[in-house]
Structure formats: C-alpha cells, structure tokens
Symmetry: C2
Subunit: 441 residues, 2 copies
C-alpha cells in the first residue's frame, strides 16, 4: 500500500532481494501466510470488542495513504502494519457477533482453509481438461444439493441409472443467477413467440412482488427487458408481504390480453426486507398457464429448507446451526413482544425479526413519531459500535431489521443487544418528553 | 467430502464436539489454516514435478466419492486427506512452471495472504458504510492505476484540485467488464436515438475483430443485442490479425447508411488467440464519427502497458516480472525460428509465441500434413505431463500457443519444453516416414 511507514532498514533488506524477484517463492508463501494466520486468529479473538461500525469519516483512508501510486513494493511486514493501522479501524465487522444488519455473514474454519487452498492452486475451470477435479466436484456437489432439497431426479446430473437430464452450476451471487435465468427465459420466449431476432423483446413481460430484492429489477434492465414491462406486484399485510397468486394471475392475464408475452416470474423464499415467503407452488401454477418460467430466489432461506424433510438424514451439525439461529431470533422476537413500547411488524419466518417503536396513536402524527423514534434508535445503536442493524420499509413504514445467524453469534449477544435497545429507547422517550415539556413551558 | 475414509476413531472424537458446534472457533481456524499452509507449501515445492495435465478419465472423481450427500461433517484431517488423494491427482496445475497453455496464471505470496485475510473478514462492500476501508481502497487503487497508465486527469476520482470527474470499479472478470460497458453503451444509444423503451434495440449495432475473445459475442447476446447486428470484422495476415480501421469504417458506414445505430466497438490490446494489438487510437477515431463507444479489452496485455512510459517511476519489481516474461518468450521465439521444421505464425507482441510445424509444400496436402503434425505434437506433449500448451486457429490454420509468464516459470522451463518439442517432433516425423515406407512396400 501507500504507505504509512518507510522504515529504511526494512526497505533496504527488501531492495537487496529485488534482483532475484520470486513472487511465489515457497518459503515466502509460508512465511507470509503464517503472519496472515496470526492476524486472522487475533482478529477473531478480538472482533467482538471492536466497534461493529467504525467511527471514521468518508475519505479517512485517502488522508492516511499517499495519492500517488507507490514507486516500489513494500516488504510484507509493512503491508501487515498498514492493514492493522489503516484498514481494520475503517472496517465494518461483518464477522462480529454484534452484527445484526442485512443478512448474517456466515463462515467457517473449513471454508476459510478451503478458500486459501483454492486461491493457492489458482485454476480456471472453464473446461473439464482445464481443471478436471474442480469440474467434477461441482457436478457432484450439485447432485448432493438436489438430493438434500429432495428435488426430482430430473434435476440430477447423474442418477442411479447413469447420465441424468439435469445438473447445474455454482454462481457467485444470486444476482448472477437471476441474470442467467432471465436471459435464458427471454430467449426461450422470443423463440416461442416467433420473434425475428430481438424484435419481439418489447412484448416480453416479467413479474415479481414489490418485496423482491432490487437486484431483480436491475437484472431485468441488464437483460434488455423493456422498463414498461417489468411488473412490481404490490403486496400487503394480508399476505404478510408475500406475492398474492390471485393478483399475479390478474396482472399476467391483462398483459396476455394486451398482446404481451408473460415470460418470467421471480418468487422469493425469504425476502431481504422481511423474510416473506412467496407461495412457490401457487405462483408456478399461475406462471404455467402462460408458459412463463419461474425463478426461485432462496439465497437467504434456501439452506433452511434442507432441514424439515431431512431430519433422519441430517444428523450432522449444519442443521443444528440453522436451528440455533432461528431459536435465537425467536428469543429476540419474544423479548420484543414482551415490551409494549415495540411491535413486531411482520410474522417471523426464519432468523430475521422486523420490529419498530409502536405508534402511541394510530394516526398520521403517531406514525410520524414512531418513525422518528425508530430511526433515532437505529442511529444511536449503530453509533455505539456495540451493535449494528439495518432498516427496511414495509407497507410504507420504517422498520428495523434484526438479522441473526452470523457464525460467532451466541444468545448472549442477542440478549445484550436487546438490553441496549431498551436502554436507548428509554433515553429517546425521556428526551422527547423533555422536549415537549420545554415547548409547553 | 464424500468420503474416502471413515476412520471410526476420528469420527467419534469429532462427534463428541458436535454438540458445541462452533464453526468459526478461533483455535480451529488457526489449526486448520496451519494445515492448509503446510499443504500450500508442499504444493509449491512439488508442483514442478507433478504432471501438468492429470492422467484421469472423465468421471474419475465420481467413482472415488459417494453419490449420496454425506450424512455428517468429516473431521478436517479427512478433508485434507481427500484433497491430497482425490483432488490433487485430478487437477490441471496452472501454477506449474511447465504450464504454457491459455494465459499464464500469475500469483504471489502477498496476493495469497491478502485473499486469506479478505476471506476471513468476509465483508460485502455494497455501500461505503458496509465496508469503508474496502470502498476507499478501491477508489485509491484505481486512481493509482489511472496514474500508472497515464490516463488523463478526467479518469481520476480525486485530483490535486479535489473531487474528480472519473473513477472506476474493480470487476471480477473481463467478461463482466464487457457486459457492464455494453449495457451502458446500449442505453446511451437508445436514449440518443430517441427509442421508445427498448423498441430501438433492433437498430443498434456492435463491432469487433474476428480475433476478439468469444466472451464479447456472448456478452452482446446477454445484453440483448440482435444477433443480426453483431459484426465480427475479418482480419488477416496483412494487419497481423489486428482490426483494420479502414474495414471498420466501411462496415460502420454501411450500417449507418442502412439506418442502424453504431453503438459500441471492442478493441483488444493482446488478443487471446495471438496477442494481436488493435490500433486503439485509429479505432477510436472511426467510432467517434458515429458517436459509438469504444471498449478497450487489455485483460492480458494491459499491465505490460505500464512499462515503457514509466521507466523512471517504476523501479520496483513488477516491471521486472513482465520484462522477464517477454524475454523468455523472445528466447523461445528465437529457438523456434532457428529450427526450420517450424514457423512462427504471427509476430510476437508480448509473451505469447504462436507457431506450428512448417508445411513442406505450400499446397492443400502440405497444409493438411502440417496441421496433422502440429496437432499430434500438442497431444503428445500434453500427454507427457511435462508441458501443457493449447492451440488456436488463425487465418484457418491450426496454431500452437506457447504462453510464458506464470509466476514460477524460469528460462530453464522454457528451454526444457523446447527440447521436448524438438524430440517429439523428430519422433512424429520418423513415424510418418515409416508409415509412408510401409505403404510403398
């Protein structure tokens, strides 16, 4: 990096090595990695005590590092020093057990070690020959997943009878998966509707609930769908913010009647906003009437679906992890429900609790006051560095999201966050009362 | 994994731990990582002696591992044993100094250590707040890169005068970069041509030389361009297989005359096939006549462009690495040119040499014989496990690609691959003579 430190002795020793430049010398690899492992160990040991959200201002790093590119490489120890002194103090610690924002960042010792080895082998598996083991492991792992999710044998690459009709690929993100399936559905719909090239694209329509993650609407634009034909179907409290198949049918039928080609429906199992679960079966039935494809986005809650049906198979530990997350979220939900200053806004499905400060009166002023208090609660909590949670908007209301499940999280972290929430709310209410009194005086 | 081993004692000890499931326990992280580091060290120490291409048949791994998903996690030592016994023997070793296929897989001790740390911190930098240090490092690194490439100040996020007008993002692959720029150019062209929604998409046209990597033509399809308007401009020996601006102008003008909207030209600095260099400046001049955007794909050769202009700035080691690659490729090219059984097919630009067995007669039969011999040479070489190189087709001819530059490569590897090539060619020629003699008899 930049750099912070210009210890001349370290640079001199390093410069002597430059002539025999060996970027991948095995002894250096081992020595650097041992230092990195020490860092990682210290990091996990201390992450709980670090502020979850760092107290830095935008531009802090630009002030620490030089704006011109370094004119020579720095010794590895200097990079590690800069990591500790410049980077760590400016990181949001997703691995912290006090992180309740977005979705939990899960990780494991085995996963980190596996990534290290993959990074060192550094292969590109674009054909079987380019990395046979990588290709075959992917095929095998996806067949395992199909079995864990009890998908029909038609989803398998290999079945007991030999070569199957299915298979799949592992993609980097759920956004990539959406783009890939949208493009496939788009081209299938163009062929089916007898389009000359992409001339028929303006007639294709796609559908999703308004709670669907924004990446869906972005992926539609990437794939070239007409903005006028990207339907965001409104949801409400009556379906717990899940997609209503009757409404979907109505919108799709109207499009078909108007000469459009219903092409693709995105159903979500566990929406980002509130973990709503779209009724996949009923949605698929509606889509089938129009030969539209259905994409199931289960990026968050998918792994939980392994549990119920596989009680007898999965006696291992992974199941336990998911259950423990859900149990912790249930504990938090009970705590929130037990304090009448708060309300749980939508029923909890998995390990996410959506709550807010309860309005004191069910009118516009009451709503505004509740939003102000909820927002202030979030900001004050996050500023402490002792917890980090994010918000969403459901049915026009500002709602706090308490997401449980990061790998280091235990019940005590959930309980201590709750204590902080209660205490902070008391302070906010007291402050508001003082304000009122002052105004009256 | 599957697994190969079911040591009951190891499983029993592990099962006892299951109740207190701590996937990210710091002591486990350290212990697993130390084992992974030992593996990586041994791997780099031995990779030169491993067959570059493994001698496995498709399906080998499916026969080693069970087809049903594992019913419980395995201890880490068993995963490491499976890695050594099932995965390594089925890997193509991109890190091997005897790997001359595709493009060199470069890596460094510092890069591997950095990836380890990033993987352990496991953050998602989708907003500044979600990872301030990650966001700011990206901004800074790209400004450094802009300076190294001597781009105009308008490309910078921050300039001496404060906030600049430029900036960029780091993408995972060159394919992603193509898609992102294609979509942006597409939407700009739609706006500029007064399209109602995407109705004007059928009129947009895109351009690239026929040597452009196939990912470009795929990205065009992803972005919804009409297959009929994706122009692959023929190249030939007269421009060393680079894009000819005069031909480009002709094709773009014809499209414009026909009412199409020239939208995007992809120029490549160092094509995958033969490292041809499209004349970026002249291409940009042609594109500008039609307000079309120009994308420069310098995924392979881009970093080499840092060198010449920055001789006085870059006294560091990276420059040295690039130069040493090019010098080794030059050595190989000289060896090929010195043996009249071979010919260098296109002039070498960077660290890739494209050669083939020279036809004995400049007729169809001679060409066919040369292709047969070149193909057999590649297959026999790759089968030895002592070298791995790939091929391409240039101007209808089957050509061997010898790509230099992977991090562990030294001149002795290049020379020893050349000895192998000579010896194998002698055997092939002797075999062919014997065949002829036998036929005559």
């Amino acid at each position: 990096m930049g750099s912070l430190d210009t210890n001349p002795a370290a640079y001199a020793a390093f410069a002597a090595d430059v002539e025999a430049f060996q970027p991948l010398n095995a002894d250096d690899v081992r020595s650097y990695l041992h230092k990195a492992v020490d860092f990682v160990y210290d990091y996990y040991k201390s992450v709980e005590s670090l502020p979850v959200l760092p107290g830095v201002e935008p531009g802090y790093l630009l002030r620490l590092l030089q704006s011109a590119p370094p004119s020579s490489s720095a010794p590895f120890d200097i990079a590690m020093k800069e990591l500790r002194e410049a980077v760590v103090p400016g990181m949001t610690h997703w691995a912290s057990p006090n992180f309740f924002a977005f979705f939990p960042a899960t990780n494991s010792a085995a996963a980190i070690a596996g990534e290290l080895i993959a990074s060192a082998m550094n292969t590109v598996g674009f054909t079987w020959q380019a990395a046979p083991a990588a290709t075959e492991l992917e095929v095998l792992a996806l067949d395992w997943l199909a079995q864990l999710l009890r998908l029909p044998a038609s989803f398998m690459n290999r079945t007991a009878g030999g070569r199957g009709t299915g298979g799949g690929v592992i993609l980097g993100t759920t956004s990539e998966a959406m783009l890939v399936t949208l493009v496939s559905a788009r081209d299938a719909a163009l062929r089916r509707s007898g389009s000359n090239g992409v001339a028929g694209l303006t007639r294709l329509a796609v559908y999703a609930a308004d709670q669907t993650r924004s990446t869906f609407f972005k992926a539609c634009r990437l794939a070239g769908f007409d903005p006028a034909n990207i339907r965001s179907i409104p949801t409400g409290a009556e379906t717990d913010y899940a997609l209503d198949p009757a409404k979907l049918l109505e919108v799709m039928q109207a499009d078909a009647d108007a000469g459009l080609v219903p092409t693709y429906v995105c159903a979500t199992v566990g929406t980002t906003s509130s973990n709503a679960v779209d009724p996949v079966g009923a949605v698929a039935d509606v889509a089938a009437r129009f030969n539209a494809w259905v994409h199931v986005d289960a990026a968050y809650a998918g792994s939980a679906c392994i549990c119920p049906e596989f009680r007898h198979h999965l006696d291992g530990v992974e199941r336990e992890h998911i259950r423990s997350d859900v149990a912790m979220a249930k504990t938090f939900e009970d705590l929130v429900r037990g304090d009448d200053r708060f309300e749980v806004v939508v029923p909890r499905n998995f390990a996410l609790v959506c709550f807010r400060v309860r309005p004191r009166k069910p009118d516009t002023a009451g709503e505004a006051e509740a939003e102000k208090a909820s927002r202030e609660l979030m900001e004050r909590l996050n500023k402490t560095g002792r917890a980090y949670l994010a918000h969403t908007v459901i049915g026009g209301r500002f709602v706090l999201r308490f997401a449980v499940g990061s790998s280091l999280q235990e019940e005590r972290h959930v309980r201590s966050a709750w204590e902080l929430i209660k205490k902070t709310t008391t302070e906010i209410v007291a402050g508001a009362e003082e304000d009122k009194t002052r105004k009256k005086v």
